[in-house]
């Protein structure tokens, strides 16, 4: 690294943008707000590129990574607890930073066009910059506590942006839901950190890895810590059973859904597991749980996605499902495959969300798939890029999704045993994914327009340019190949990288995955292109199943009845009435009453009559005099002598 390069500049620039736009944005002209908002992530991205270029420089010599930058002043220094502000740039955080700042910048550019006519333009961009600040802190953090700061911060930014249209009750509620559900996960993260401190005495990732190098650490407390961290990751990355906030988070503006709720923030859980992979490596049980949670979430969310009619909700469930894939990858210790999928997913899912935003923008805010159709002629660019995105997520070669999904499925299969079952779940999910994505594609762009009232118009250049760039990335993003990617990541994610299996097995699995994706496409074609009566007929054939899916397995209702209602009842009746009104209110009233009563008594002294004051003064002086003049010890002694004498008599 060269001397003028500072890691702390990467988060600081978006933070400066947040401060400027947040404090003065309302008074600044729109062009200045735009300039500040775009320059901050662009400069951060440029800094990351500088870091990359220094990597690519002299190939010989020791690797400049990991590059650690620590603030000379300690953050927390109490007894044996010592925590620094330290940023670490290694292979893992470098990849994440590229995604976060790169995709982040593209989405900033897109937002300029998308949010042009919205109220609170400056507020929107200040939140977006704030998000980038916290996300880069999360990624660069060298210890768990600093990561937690970023972790909470992105949660805050997510909350603010989901509730961006806060006049809408549903948006405000969705923001609260996201925040509260994430608290459950954060609780796990916190407990995990406490356990780390108690057992290892440090929160620094590199030191934890060093201490874990002794083989005596196996299972037991490490499993508990890993499971606590998994709970945190499941909350942030919307895995079972804490996924419920993500579909509702679609109430936010569409670019926010693309940036925070598809490409970057929700992948923080995957990143965290990869970052703390040493813990998971020492606990096969926790790894198994990660894999099962991931596979279950992937399948579960994909089935819900089959029947959703809101374009953004389809994408939301698809995001949850793809995050499940990443967890599955982590769970079979194929961290580099998971991160690979994270990267390609960031490209194609951001692309799909932004394209959906472009569609919604074009037809005046309509999000219902049933009211779209035939848009390909009116929105040719959006149609083209969406096609790329759909092909990528469905896993067709040579698009990015094929390579990364294949890597995860192969890693699961190669594990053998229960890994085969996980692989099969992944394969079924791939089929479902392909089906619902092509369903979305057919319903939106092909067929006849189902709503003649709207006059769609292609989006402005500032929205199309990021779409095209993301489409190119969705095509080429996977070409680097899992072998090279995993070799690059190995220093950060451990030596358990992809072993080269038999080429024939790999080829068979790939062909199978593509065949399944093609099958999904075919079914979608039959359902939504060939025979338009088929969806209704199949729904009528399985009324119970369809209803179950359309109502998302009633999970929200079940949580409402088992968790929310009892909690609300407890809060309202016990905490609200008994504790707050009864105990606390009563105590306050009692104290106030005592003061009032005492005041009423003492008020009589304040007669306003000089002579009575003087009389009290004289009486007081006389009392002091009495106290000073009378020899009290002698008097008391004589008094007690009389008393004793009387008793003895």
């Amino acid at each position: 690294m060269n001397a003028i390069f500072h890691l702390w500049l990467i988060p600081l620039l978006p933070f400066a943008g947040f401060l400027l736009n947040g404090l003065f944005g309302r008074r600044l002209p729109k062009a200045v707000v735009t300039a500040i908002a775009l320059l901050a992530p662009l400069a951060a991205f440029a800094l990351v590129l500088i870091a990359v270029s220094s990597l690519l420089g002299p190939a010989d010599g020791p690797s400049p990574l990991p590059f650690v930058e620590t603030c000379s002043h300690p953050w927390i220094d109490i007894g044996t607890l010592h925590i620094d502000f330290s940023f670490v740039l290694d292979e893992l955080s470098l990849v994440m930073l590229l995604v976060v700042t790169g995709v982040g910048f593209l989405i900033h550019v897109y937002s300029v066009g998308y949010m042009k006519h919205e109220e609170g333009y400056a507020r929107y961009f200040s939140y977006l910059n704030l998000f980038l600040f916290f996300m880069t802190v999360l990624v660069l953090a060298g210890n768990a506590l600093l990561m937690f700061v970023g972790w909470e911060g992105v949660g805050l930014a997510s909350y603010l942006l989901i509730g961006f249209y806060f006049q809408k009750t549903s948006a405000a509620n969705a923001g609260k839901k996201a925040f509260i559900v994430n608290r459950i996960g954060d609780f796990g993260f916190l407990i995990g950190m406490f356990l780390l401190l108690a057992n290892f005495g440090t929160l620094t990732f590199s030191e934890i890895a060093e201490k874990l190098a002794y083989p005596s650490w196996q299972g037991g407390v490490v499993t508990v810590i890993a499971l606590c961290l998994l709970l945190g990751a499941a909350g942030k990355s919307a895995q079972l059973p804490l996924y419920i906030w993500l579909p509702d988070a679609m109430e936010g503006p569409t670019p926010v859904s693309a940036l925070i709720h598809a490409a970057t923030m929700v992948t923080a859980g995957v990143y965290m597991i990869a970052r703390t992979h040493v813990l998971f490596d020492h606990s096969p049980f926790a790894l198994g749980v990660v894999a099962v949670v991931g596979a279950a979430t992937a399948l579960f969310a994909a089935t819900i996605g089959l029947v959703q009619n809101d374009i953004k909700r389809v994408l939301a469930y698809s995001t949850i499902s793809q995050l499940g894939y990443m967890f599955l990858g982590c769970g079979v210790a194929a961290y580099s495959a998971a991160i690979f999928h994270l990267v390609t997913h960031a490209f194609f899912k951001a692309l799909l969300f932004l394209a959906a935003g472009s569609v919604i923008h074009a037809i005046g805010g309509e999000q219902d798939l049933r009211k779209m159709g035939g848009l390909w002629k009116k929105l040719p660019v959006t149609f083209a890029v969406t096609t790329v995105g759909v092909l990528a997520i469905a896993g067709f070669p040579p698009f990015a999704g094929f390579f990364s999904k294949d890597a995860i499925l192969y890693a699961a299969f190669a594990q053998g045993g229960s890994g085969r079952a996980l692989w099969f779940v992944g394969l079924v999910t791939a089929l479902l994914t392909s089906f619902y994505m092509f369903r979305l594609w057919y319903l939106t762009f092909l067929g006849k327009p189902r709503n003649e009232d709207v006059h769609p118009h292609e989006s402005p250049f500032s929205m199309l340019a990021p779409l095209v760039i993301l489409a190119l990335l969705s095509i080429c993003g996977g070409w680097i190949g899992i072998e090279r990617f995993s070799a690059f990541l190995t220093p950060a994610t451990g030596a358990r990288a992809m072993e080269a299996g038999s080429a024939q097995l790999e080829l068979t699995l790939s062909v199978l995955a593509v065949a399944v994706a093609a099958l999904g496409w075919l079914i979608a074609y039959l359902f939504y292109r060939e025979k338009s009566a088929l969806p209704a007929r199949s729904a009528a054939a399985l009324p119970g199943g369809y209803k179950l899916l359309a109502n998302k397995y009633y999970v929200d209702e079940i949580y409402g009845a088992t968790v929310v209602k009892p909690l609300l009842g407890l809060s309202t009746y016990f905490l609200g009435w008994v504790v707050d009104t009864g105990l606390l209110g009563g105590a306050v009233w009692l104290l106030g009453g005592i003061a009032t009563f005492a005041g009423a008594l003492l008020q009589r002294w304040q007669s306003g009559n000089i002579r009575s004051y003087a009389a009290w003064l004289a009486a007081g002086a006389a009392a002091v005099l009495l106290f000073l003049v009378v020899p009290w010890p002698a008097v008391l002694a004589s008094l007690s002598a009389i008393h004793l004498g009387g008793a003895g008599h």
């Binding site: 008020q603 007669s607 306003g608 009559n609 000089i610 002579r611 003087a614 004289a618």
Partner: protein, 107 residues
């Protein structure tokens, strides 16, 4: 030690006189209604204290007591000037000098 005082009049008599005058002042302050009489009672108390100061100063050949008396007299003079001015102002405002009528502070 008490040789410097007159042989016929012991120290305690002076002090008794001082206490008597002070008590007179206190009682006058408490029972009189007229503000000027109350004011005079205060002066009486001050001078009763002055008497005991002078007595002790003379008894112990300490000049501090004498000096203190001068201070008290000076403060009393100043206080008399201010006090009388207040009394005149009060009389102008309320047309009475009865202390129990001057009770604006009362709730």
């Amino acid at each position: 030690m008490n040789s410097s005082l007159g042989q016929d009049v012991p120290l305690s008599w002076y002090l008794l006189l001082s206490a008597l005058l002070f008590t007179l002042g206190v009682v006058g302050f408490l029972i009189k209604r007229n503000l000027i009489t109350v004011f005079m009672s205060i002066e009486l108390m001050l001078n009763a204290v002055n008497l005991s100061f002078v007595t002790f100063a003379h008894e112990w050949h300490a000049v501090k007591g004498q000096i203190f008396v001068f201070f008290v007299m000076m403060v009393a003079a100043a206080e008399a000037a201010v006090g009388l001015a207040i009394i005149i102002a009060v009389f102008r405002a309320r047309a009475t000098l009865a202390v129990d009528r001057i009770d604006l502070m009362k709730l």
